[in-house]
């Protein structure tokens, strides 16, 4: 590294690459990292490594990406080149195209397709949008949908608990605590204590199948998941195919398209095959900080086309059942009236599912909100 200036430039490039991979590394992190590097031995590789991890505040799930980028940027290998970075540059020039046609597995829905747009029963463009199959979504539709979903999801965050807890100003008077307080002021009620119902924060865990057979739906359903995240505080989103990746923090809200691109760069085997059982087991075993209790609704989005161990899938579903309040399985294939859940994976999971619902258009997702809230 050549002097302090060279190091700072290097740090800025490195932080940019981390950002391009979807991690939130801001200016304050960069400043802290620069200050921290000034304090340590720059010739010691592992010390620089540790210092950057501490000062850039990288969570545990970012370590893998961090290690990879660290090798690229700090080990003197002149290959500071990252595909996600190039994409990030390109994106700024104009709206990106999103096409999932081609060799992908696609679902044919002739009934929906044949009907001309004007005939869709409904009273507003919004109503038409609600029934439009996701395969036909355009850029504009997606933005409209995000707005719609945000409205719908508001309900989730406003459910009140039955419990009464002490509150600061609102609520009914809590006589017992008021008297207790009055004791301190010689029997004068200086301030009344009150009780009210706290907001019961529903939490949501979304396990998302990102395998090839789900490609068509990926974007819209993830947009939905992130719109939910904006209104419900406790939403955790995981993508799975052959491995499980926690994507909650990898995605900036409101930039789903961008995020999806960085995701496919950062997640191993994105759009590959599926091993649902293995991924569920991993979720249960290694993501203990994700609260799954009776206030939690687990939403599994998958077509159930499993290539893994069906036994393991069943065992994991059973355990999930014992912990979660509700399990909802969304299957885009259900939108097709001819579909029957007959593949082995789906059959193994079904006994543990509370609601088995379609997810092929917005109307069906709206149904989901009713189930969750």
């Amino acid at each position: 590294m050549s002097g302090a200036h060279g190091m700072v430039a290097q740090l800025a490039r490195f932080a940019g690459a981390l950002r391009a991979c979807g991690f939130r590394v801001g200016l304050s992190e960069e400043i802290d990292a620069a200050a921290a590097l000034a304090l340590v031995d720059l010739l010691d590789r592992s010390e620089v490594h540790r210092t950057l991890r501490i000062a850039l505040r990288l969570p545990r799930d970012a370590w893998e990406t961090f290690d990879r980028l660290f090798e690229e940027y700090w080990d003197g290998r002149r290959a500071p080149h990252h595909p996600a970075l190039d994409q990030a540059m390109k994106r700024d020039r104009g709206p990106a195209q999103w096409r999932w046609d081609g060799q992908r597995v696609r679902l044919e829905m002739p009934e929906e397709r044949e009907r001309p747009e004007g005939d869709t029963p409904g009273y507003s463009p919004e109503a038409a949008l609600r029934r439009k199959p996701f395969e036909e979504f355009t850029e504009g539709d997606l933005a409209a949908m995000e707005r719609l979903v945000a409205q719908l999801a508001q309900r989730l965050a406003t459910r009140r608990s039955r419990r009464l807890v002490p509150t600061a100003a609102r609520g009914i008077v809590d006589l017992r605590r008021s008297f207790r307080r009055a004791l301190a002021s010689d029997g004068d009620f200086l301030r009344l204590a009150r009780r009210g119902r706290p907001l019961d924060v529903a939490s949501l865990v979304i396990l998302y199948d990102s395998s090839g057979s789900m490609d068509v739906y990926t974007r819209v359903l993830l947009a939905f998941a992130f719109a939910l995240r904006r209104v419900v505080k406790r939403v955790e989103i995981f993508a799975f195919n052959t491995t499980l990746v926690r994507v909650t923090r990898m995605i900036a809200p409101g930039k789903v398209l961008r995020s999806l691109e960085s995701l496919s760069a950062g997640v191993p085997d994105w759009s590959g095959g599926t091993r649902i059982g293995t991924c569920l087991a991993e979720f249960l075993a290694s993501h203990k900080d994700v609260r799954v209790d009776r206030n939690t609704t687990v939403v599994c989005v998958s077509d159930g086309l499993d290539q893994g161990d069906t036994d393991l899938l069943e065992r994991s579903m059973r355990e999930l059942r014992s912990r979660a309040g509700k399990i909802i399985w969304l299957n885009p294939l259900l939108g097709d009236t001819r579909y029957r859940p007959e593949c082995a994976g789906m059959r193994a999971a079904l006994p543990y599912v509370d609601h088995f619902a379609p997810a092929h258009n917005l109307e069906s997702l709206q149904g989901l909100l009713r189930l969750v809230g």
């Binding site: 939130r24 802290d32 340590v40 031995d41």
Partner: protein
């Protein structure tokens, strides 16, 4: 490695904390950069212990704030000593004194009960170590309140005015990640993630904390726990559990692990009914075989 980090590591070890370079670096940076240190990791990996050791090392006071849902300023920051104020008022009634002066008097520092946060910034003798434990349990509102304190180290009390820190305390926050810490708070801290220790480290901790344990037993216990953490369990045992278990075995005067004792004392390690059930006879035998083998 930086000399100062090395000596930090050595000092922590002297005070009974086996610190990896990662932990020593984080503590050193937090001290030098005067930033709070946010420590995350699974239960029982020694997050709280970092703050305790730091306080012993700096031979200063450890001010601890245990967070819980519904934690409010009365318990975290300060409270007026109502009883004393009232008593003073009664006395004043007889004296017939000036009401303005009286008001100034009863809203003075002597009538203020210091809670941990206020205590941490008003300590005269030198910087205290402020441990804000399990911040993830407190409400998000409390987190927002902490922001002001942690960036300016000052507290505003309406009746008294603003109190500035005499010495900026060394702040350690811990979180079990039962909920994600807000970005604003995270941004003000340095971040350390502590993992379960590897075999060598755990063995050293065990031998340091439970000196009565024989070398053979310590090795077996550590190997057993290390292997156990590789299993699919709902709650993995932390270092604290390992120490408990070793203590229990020492009390039972055991020099080696056998199936019967292990079964009877498994509750020291596994705190979940399903985990205990999942560790059946066969699995236990496997673990014990691994623990007593030498490779």
């Amino acid at each position: 490695m930086n000399e100062q980090i090395r000596s930090m590591q050595a000092a922590m070890e002297r005070w009974g904390y086996v610190a990896e370079p990662e932990i020593a670096t984080a503590v050193y940076l937090a001290r030098e950069m005067r930033k709070p240190l946010l420590v995350e990791g699974e239960a029982g990996v020694g997050k709280t212990e970092i703050a305790k050791v730091l306080a012993r090392m700096l031979s200063t006071e450890l001010v601890r704030l245990q967070c819980y849902e519904g934690l409010d300023t009365n318990t975290a920051l300060y409270e007026w000593n109502y009883q004393r104020q009232l008593l003073r008022l009664k006395i004043a009634e007889r004296e017939n004194s000036d009401p303005d002066k009286l008001e100034d008097l009863i809203f003075g520092r002597e009538y203020l009960l210091e809670r941990p946060l206020l205590r941490a910034i008003t300590r005269r003798e030198g910087p205290a170590v402020l441990l804000i434990d399990e911040i993830d349990r407190a409400d998000e509102g409390f987190e927002a309140f902490l922001l002001e304190l942690l960036s300016d180290f000052q507290i505003t009390i309406p009746e008294l005015g603003t109190i500035r820190a005499e010495h900026v305390p060394v702040v350690v926050l811990t979180s079990n990640r039962s909920r994600e810490i807000g970005d604003a708070l995270r941004r003000r801290c340095l971040y350390l993630y502590v993992e379960h220790p590897d075999f060598e480290k755990e063995l050293r901790i065990l031998r340091g904390k439970v000196p009565a344990v024989s070398e053979q037993l310590a090795t077996a216990v550590t190997r057993f726990v290390q292997k156990l953490r590789g299993q699919q369990l709902r709650k993995l045992p932390g270092v604290a559990e390992t120490l408990d278990w070793a203590q229990a075995l020492v009390r039972l005067h055991r020099d080696a692990l056998d199936a019967e004792t292990a079964r009877a004392t498994l509750g020291c390690l596994l705190k979940d009914e399903q985990d205990i059930k999942a560790t059946g006879e066969q699995k236990l035998a496997e673990l014990l075989a691994y623990a007593s083998s030498r490779d």
